[in-house]
């Protein structure tokens, strides 16, 4: 009986914790993954760094709030937001309809297409497709590009990170042997080692890996993929109840986009302008 009591108390505490903090936004806790270079990653000294960390500090300054960063594994990043472990997610997270069922998003602060990568010398590198694959465009050309991609990848081992738009894309459009990784870093290692034939991810994070010694043998192939279930760009994830916080982020992001701050951060980390 005592065990049941302890367990019930625990459950009640857990469920109440979601409502414990609201209203006062002088301090904002930002949840991020810390394993998605150059968006957010952990440097050799163990500190969280990356484009989103810089952007978050800038946005918090605009909102007159103190930023505190919380590191959280990707596959639990939405549940932890809902449970109140932090107030906002800034972790290279694309705004999708699927995620909007559980949380809400600020407007997009960066946009970037998804892209396939493989190792140099792979037959996949000779694949020729259209330059862009826009999933919002329902034309025959789109279907043709998906068909070409699918034919080339049929039965091959494709790596994706768990719970990403890329996993959704593979499940929806491709007939492959899907390998699901907890983080991008682990998938990168297996791509270089040849345990998977191709990987699908945001292009920037693979570009960052190509710049490292172990990623030197990695190269892109296939089209830039965007739109549809890949979402409308990367935004800050916010609990559905916190519409005041969402309004604050929307305003700060619009200002940061207008005065060129987002472009500057983007050039610094990605070498190209991802501003919305």
């Amino acid at each position: 009986m005592r065990i049941i009591k302890v367990f019930t108390t625990l459950l009640i505490t857990l469920s109440l914790s979601s409502f414990a903090l609201a209203g006062d936004w002088s301090k904002i806790r930002v949840g991020t993954e810390g394993a998605y270079e150059p968006w957010n990653y952990t440097n050799a000294a163990g500190e969280l760094v990356g484009a989103e960390l810089d952007l978050a500090r800038d946005l918090c300054a605009r909102m007159g709030a103190d930023c505190e960063f919380v590191q959280q594994d990707w596959d639990g990043i939405i549940p932890a937001l809902v449970q109140g472990k932090y107030d906002v997610i800034m972790a290279g997270m694309s705004i999708t309809e699927e995620r909007m069922k559980t949380i809400s998003f600020s407007s997009a602060y960066m946009t970037e297409p998804a892209k396939m990568s493989t190792i140099k010398g792979s037959p996949l590198t000779t694949l020729s497709t259209a330059k862009n694959l826009n999933l919002d465009d329902d034309s025959a050309a789109t279907k043709g590009t998906i068909g070409t991609l699918n034919a080339a990848l049929k039965g091959l081992r494709l790596g994706v990170t768990a719970a990403t738009i890329h996993e959704d894309f593979a499940n929806t459009y491709l007939d492959v042997d899907l390998k699901i990784y907890p983080t991008q870093d682990e998938m990168n290692l297996d791509l270089s080692a040849g345990r998977i034939d191709a990987a699908l991810s945001d292009s920037g994070t693979i570009e960052a890996y190509m710049g490292t010694p172990s990623g030197a043998n990695v190269t892109f192939f296939g089209p830039n993929i965007f739109g549809g279930l890949l979402g409308e760009g990367v935004g800050a994830g916010i609990r559905q109840g916190d519409s005041d916080l969402k309004a604050m982020f929307d305003k700060a992001i619009a200002e940061a986009a207008a005065d060129g701050t987002i472009s500057r951060i983007s050039m610094q980390y990605f070498g190209k302008d991802l501003a919305p």
């Binding site: 857990l14 596959d75 639990g76 939405i78 549940p79 809902v82 699927e98 559980t102 768990a162 719970a163 390998k179 699901i180 990784y181 907890p182 682990e186 290692l189 297996d190 080692a193 040849g194 345990r195 172990s214």
Partner: protein
Amino acid sequence: MRFELMYESFFEIIKGVPLTLEVVFLSTIFGLVLAVGVALMRVSKNKFFSNPAYYFIYTIRGTPLLLQLFFIYYGLAQFTFIRESFLWYVLESPLFCGILTLTLSTAAYSAEIIRGGMQSVSPGYIEAGSSMGMSKMLRLRKIILPITIRQALPAYGNELILMVKATSLISIVTLMEITGIARTIISKTYAPVEIFIVAGSIYLFINFVITRFIKYAEHKVNHGSI
């Protein structure tokens, strides 16, 4: 609590049970064979045999299983000469790496359990056997083995249960066993409590069966005629 979700996810998660059991079964069998060898080396008076066994056990027991799995799966793959050697045929496979890691782990722990069992055989029993004219093999079969098994079985049962739970680690090398599937469902439904309760219950059931089986075996060796 979303009970309907728990009900639906049960039929998804249960698909991971064959893989979990396959990994437990194969690594336990290989591990036990290896453990008997290591235990015999460990009790040997010849340092040439006992030292390697000692250091093997020391290394495996002294480092986390997660780290061993990372080392074997991601670590070894970093070396070009390994990727180009015949070893890569097996090391390329996540399943092989998972089974290898768990085999080495259970071999180290089981070797210590077996050694403990063997050393619990009082020298007096063995002397009594030889004074009655029993041959070395007969003493092993009639005196040393029965006592060793009787002593080691409860601890070995514990090791089997730990093995079942340890398989949850292999989901990090893309193997979709019980925990791997559970995590995938959580990442889509954002309902960790419900899904982990379902996954936990499945582990509980598997371990319940194993506990019963060990109890039965203990009863057999204590009252039977082995």
